[in-house]
C-alpha cells in the first residue's frame, strides 16, 4: 500500500500547477501569480533602498483613499482621495477597454494616447470654451469624444484594410501628428499666458462635479466612473452575446478561417478599430475634461500605454480590466503620497507597473509550464501504475489527448 501514498503527495504538489492550468480558474490565478511576483520584486527593490515595503504599500493605499491618512489638509478627507482616485481610474478603464476591443480582433491599438488627446482637445475647444449650460454641454462632450475617437480609429482600420499599413505604425505616426498639431493650436490660439498649457475647460462641460460637499468634506465627484463600468459591461455583452462580437473574435483568432466562413474581414477591421477609437475617445474626454481641465501641449498621456498593461493584466477581458485598472491606478495615483511619506522617488510607480507588465507578458508561459508539469506527472503516474500491474493495459488515451493540446499551445 506504500504505492498509494506516493501519488497522493504528488497530487498535493500539483495543486498549484492544476490551479494555473484549469480552464475555469486560470483567468484569475495567473494574474494573481503575476501580482504576487510583482509585489515580491517591488519589495526587494524597496528593501535594497533601505525602506520598509509594508509601509510603502500601505502608503499607496492611503494615497488612493482606501485607508485613512495620518492627517488631512483643511476640508479634505478620505473621501476626497477616493473620489479623485476614481476620477483618474475612469479614463484608465476606458482606455484599457479600447485596447481590449482592438486586441480581441487581433489589432494593436498603440494610438490610444493620440486618440485621447484628439478627442479631449476637440471637446475642450468646441464645448469647453462655449459657455453652454451643463445639461447640454456634458452630453455633447461625450458625443464629441466618441465621434473624434471613432473617426480616428476608423481611419487606422481603413488604412490597414485598404493599404495594408500595419496599425502599429500608422497609430504611432498619428500619435505624433496629433500631438504636434494640438500642440500648435494650443500654443497659438488657446494658451493660458500663465501656465503655458491650454485655457481651462469650463466647469459646466467638465465630467466632474467639483467641490461637492459630502459630510463636511470637499469632493470632486467623477461622472466618468459610472460610464467606465457601464462600458465594461457593454463590451462584455457585445463580445459574449452578439454576432458582431463573435465575428470580431473570429477575425482576431484566425483571419483566414473567418474569411472562409463569409465574414467581411475588411469591414470588421474598420469597425473594431472604430469601436476601439470610440472608447479611447471617451477615455480622452474623461481625462482632459474630467480629471484634468486643461491640456499640456505636446505631451501625450502615458495612460495610453499604461492602459495596455491594464488590459494585459486583466487577461484582455472587459471585467478584468476594471480590477487591473484599480490595481495599477493604486500604484500610479498613490505614488505621490507614498513618495512624500517614505521618501522614494515617485517614478517607482511606473517601475512597478513595468515589472507587472513584464510578468503578465509571461503569463502564457506560466500556464504552459504548469500544463507541462501536470502532464509529466500524469505520465509518471501512468508509468507507475503500469509497472505495478505489469500487464500492458492500454490506458494512454487521455495522455494522447493532452499531447495534442500541448502541440496547440
Amino acid at each position: 500500500m506504500s504505492k498509494q501514498n506516493k501519488p497522493q503527495t504528488r497530487q498535493k504538489k500539483a495543486w498549484f500547477s492544476a490551479l494555473l492550468d484549469s480552464e475555469k480558474w486560470n483567468g484569475l490565478t495567473i494574474p494573481m501569480l503575476t501580482i504576487l511576483l510583482t509585489l515580491v520584486a517591488a519589495s526587494i527593490i524597496l528593501l535594497v533602498m533601505g525602506k520598509n515595503p509594508l509601509v510603502a504599500f500601505l502608503s499607496f493605499l492611503q494615497g488612493s483613499g482606501f485607508f485613512p491618512k495620518a492627517s488631512y489638509g483643511g476640508g479634505q478627507g478620505i473621501l476626497t482621495d477616493l473620489f479623485n482616485f476614481m476620477n483618474i481610474l475612469a479614463p484608465m478603464i476606458l482606455a484599457a477597454l479600447a485596447f481590449v476591443v482592438g486586441f480581441k480582433a487581433g489589432l494593436f491599438n498603440i494610438g490610444i494616447a493620440g486618440q485621447m488627446l484628439a478627442s479631449g482637445f476637440l471637446a475642450t475647444v468646441i464645448i469647453g470654451y462655449s459657455g453652454l449650460s451643463a445639461v447640454l454641454a456634458k452630453p455633447l462632450v461625450l458625443v464629441i469624444g466618441i465621434v473624434a475617437g471613432g473617426l480616428l480609429g476608423a481611419l487606422v482600420g481603413w488604412l490597414k484594410y485598404k493599404f495594408n499599413i500595419h496599425e502599429v505604425v500608422s497609430t504611432i505616426m498619428l500619435n505624433y501628428i496629433i500631438s504636434y498639431l494640438c500642440g500648435f493650436f494650443i500654443n497659438t490660439y488657446f494658451a493660458d499666458s500663465l501656465t503655458r498649457s491650454s485655457k481651462i475647460c469650463s466647469d459646466s462641460a467638465r465630467l466632474t462635479w467639483t467641490n461637492v460637499n459630502i459630510g463636511g468634506v470637499k469632493c470632486n465627484l467623477p461622472l466618468g466612473i459610472v460610464l467606465a463600468v457601464a462600458a465594461a459591461f457593454l463590451v462584455k455583452f457585445i463580445f459574449d452575446r452578439t454576432v458582431f462580437g463573435f465575428e470580431l473574435k473570429a477575425v482576431g483568432t484566425n483571419v483566414r478561417c473567418a474569411r472562409y466562413t463569409g465574414i467581411n474581414v475588411g469591414r470588421r477591421l474598420v469597425f473594431s478599430m472604430a469601436f476601439s477609437g470610440m472608447l479611447a475617445g471617451l477615455a480622452g474626454v474623461t481625462y482632459y475634461c474630467g480629471y484634468y481641465n486643461t491640456i499640456v501641449p505636446k505631451s501625450l498621456a502615458s495612460m495610453g500605454y499604461d492602459a495596455i498593461s491594464v488590459a494585459l493584466l486583466g487577461n484582455s477581458a472587459p471585467i478584468g480590466a476594471i480590477f487591473a485598472g484599480i490595481l495599477i491606478t493604486i500604484f500610479q495615483y498613490g505614488s505621490n503620497y507614498m513618495s512624500s511619506t517614505v521618501g522614494v522617488p515617485k517614478e517607482i510607480a511606473s517601475l512597478i507597473t513595468g515589472i507587472l507588465l513584464l510578468f503578465s507578458a509571461c503569463g502564457g508561459y506560466f500556464r504552459y509550464m504548469a500544463h507541462r508539469r501536470l502532464e509529466r506527472e500524469k505520465d509518471e503516474e501512468i508509468e507507475a501504475s503500469r509497472a505495478a500491474k505489469s500487464a500492458g493495459e492500454p490506458a494512454e488515451s487521455p495522455n494522447a489527448e493532452n499531447r495534442e493540446k500541448e502541440g496547440k499551445l
Binding site: I110, M173, L357, Y365
Partner: protein, 319 residues
C-alpha cells in the same frame, strides 16, 4: 541650405543605425517594437559610464565619448536579452513584449537616473549632463558645391556609423550567419532541418539589434540634447521602425529613407526659420516627417514583403 544637410545627416545617421538594429531583429523573425526602449537604455548605460569616467579623464576628453559609445553598445545588447528571453524562451506575444520593454526602459532609466544622481551629488535631477561631440570637416570633399555640405561639420559618429553600416550589411548578406538569420525569419523549420539552431540565431540577432540601437541612442544623447534625460524617449525608435518598413526590411533602402527623414526634418525646421514664422509654427514642420511617412506608406505598403515568420515563436512541431 548647408545647415539642412549638416543637421539632416546628423539626425539620419543615428536613426539609420537604429533602423538597422530593427532590421536585424525582424529579419531573424522577432518583431521588434522595442527599439525605443533599447536605444534609451543603451544611451542610459553610455551616459552613466561617461558620468562616472568624466572626473577621471577630465571633462573635455573626447575619449570618454567613445568609451560611452562602447558602453551603450554593450548596454543595449544586454537589455535586449530581456526582449529575446520574453519572445524566444517565454513565448510571449512579440508586439506586447516590445511595448513592455519600452515602458520598462522608460521607467527603469528615469528611476535609476534620479536615484544615482541623488547618491552622486545629492540632488535628484533626472538628467546626466554630457558634452557634445567635436565636429570635423573633411578637407577635400567639403569643397564640392551642393553636396559638399554633407561633409562639413560632421560628428565623428557619422563615420563610425558608415563603418558599422558596411559591417552590418556584410554580416547580413555575405556570411553564413547572416543567411541563417534571414532564413530564420522566413522559414525557421528549414534552418532547423539544415542543422541550425533557430533559437540561438534569433537570440544573437536580437542582441545585435539592441546593441546597434543603443549606439544610436547615445549618439542622439551626445548630439541633439547634450544630456541624458527622459526626453531621449522622443519616439525616434518608432520612427526607425517606420523607416525599416518603408525600406522594405532591406539595409540600403532603409538608409535612404533615414536620410530622407533627416533632410525632411532639418529642411522643415530651416524653412520655418527662413520664413520668419514664430516658433509656434515649428510644431507644424516637426509634424512633417510623420505626415510624409504616412502618405508614402499608403503608396508603398502594398508591395511590402515582411519576413514571413516574424511575430511567431518558433515551434518545432509545427508544419
Amino acid at each position: 541650405m548647408d545647415k539642412v544637410f549638416i543637421d539632416g545627416l546628423s539626425f539620419a545617421a543615428p536613426l539609420f543605425i537604429m533602423a538597422m538594429g530593427a532590421i536585424y531583429s525582424e529579419k531573424s523573425g522577432i518583431t521588434n517594437l522595442a527599439v525605443e526602449g533599447f536605444q534609451g537604455f543603451g544611451a542610459f548605460v553610455g551616459a552613466l559610464t561617461a558620468i562616472l569616467l568624466m572626473p577621471v579623464l577630465g571633462d573635455g576628453s573626447q575619449a570618454v565619448i567613445y568609451i560611452a559609445m562602447l558602453a551603450a553598445f554593450v548596454g543595449g545588447g544586454i537589455y535586449a536579452c530581456l526582449h529575446a528571453l520574453l519572445c524566444i524562451k517565454f513565448r510571449a506575444n512579440q508586439v506586447i513584449s516590445g511595448v513592455v520593454i519600452n515602458i520598462l526602459a522608460v521607467a527603469l532609466t528615469t528611476f535609476l537616473t534620479s536615484t544615482i544622481n541623488k547618491s552622486l551629488n545629492g540632488d535628484a535631477s533626472n538628467k546626466f549632463v554630457l558634452g557634445v561631440f567635436n565636429r570635423y570637416t573633411i578637407p577635400g570633399l567639403s569643397q564640392i558645391p551642393v553636396i559638399g555640405a554633407l561633409f562639413r561639420n560632421m560628428y565623428p559618429f557619422e563615420f563610425i556609423m558608415i563603418v558599422v553600416a558596411i559591417v552590418a550589411w556584410y554580416l547580413m548578406y555575405r556570411t553564413r550567419f547572416g543567411m541563417r538569420m534571414r532564413a530564420c525569419g522566413e522559414n525557421p523549420q528549414a534552418v532547423d532541418a539544415a542543422g541550425g539552431n533557430v533559437d540561438r540565431t534569433r537570440f544573437i540577432s536580437v542582441m545585435i539589434s539592441g546593441a546597434l540601437s543603443g549606439v544610436g541612442g547615445i549618439c542622439f544623447a551626445y548630439s541633439i540634447s547634450a544630456n541624458f534625460s527622459p526626453s531621449i524617449y522622443m519616439g525616434y525608435g518608432y520612427l526607425a521602425i517606420a523607416a525599416m518598413i518603408f525600406g522594405n526590411w532591406n539595409i540600403l533602402p532603409t538608409g535612404a529613407v533615414c536620410l530622407f527623414f533627416g533632410l525632411a526634418k532639418a529642411g522643415g525646421y530651416q524653412l520655418c526659420l527662413s520664413m520668419g514664422l514664430p516658433s509656434n509654427y515649428s510644431d507644424l514642420f516637426m509634424m512633417l516627417p510623420y505626415v510624409l511617412t504616412l502618405i508614402l506608406l499608403v503608396f508603398f505598403s502594398k508591395r511590402n514583403h515582411p519576413p514571413k515568420a516574424a511575430g511567431e515563436p518558433y515551434d518545432k512541431g509545427k508544419r
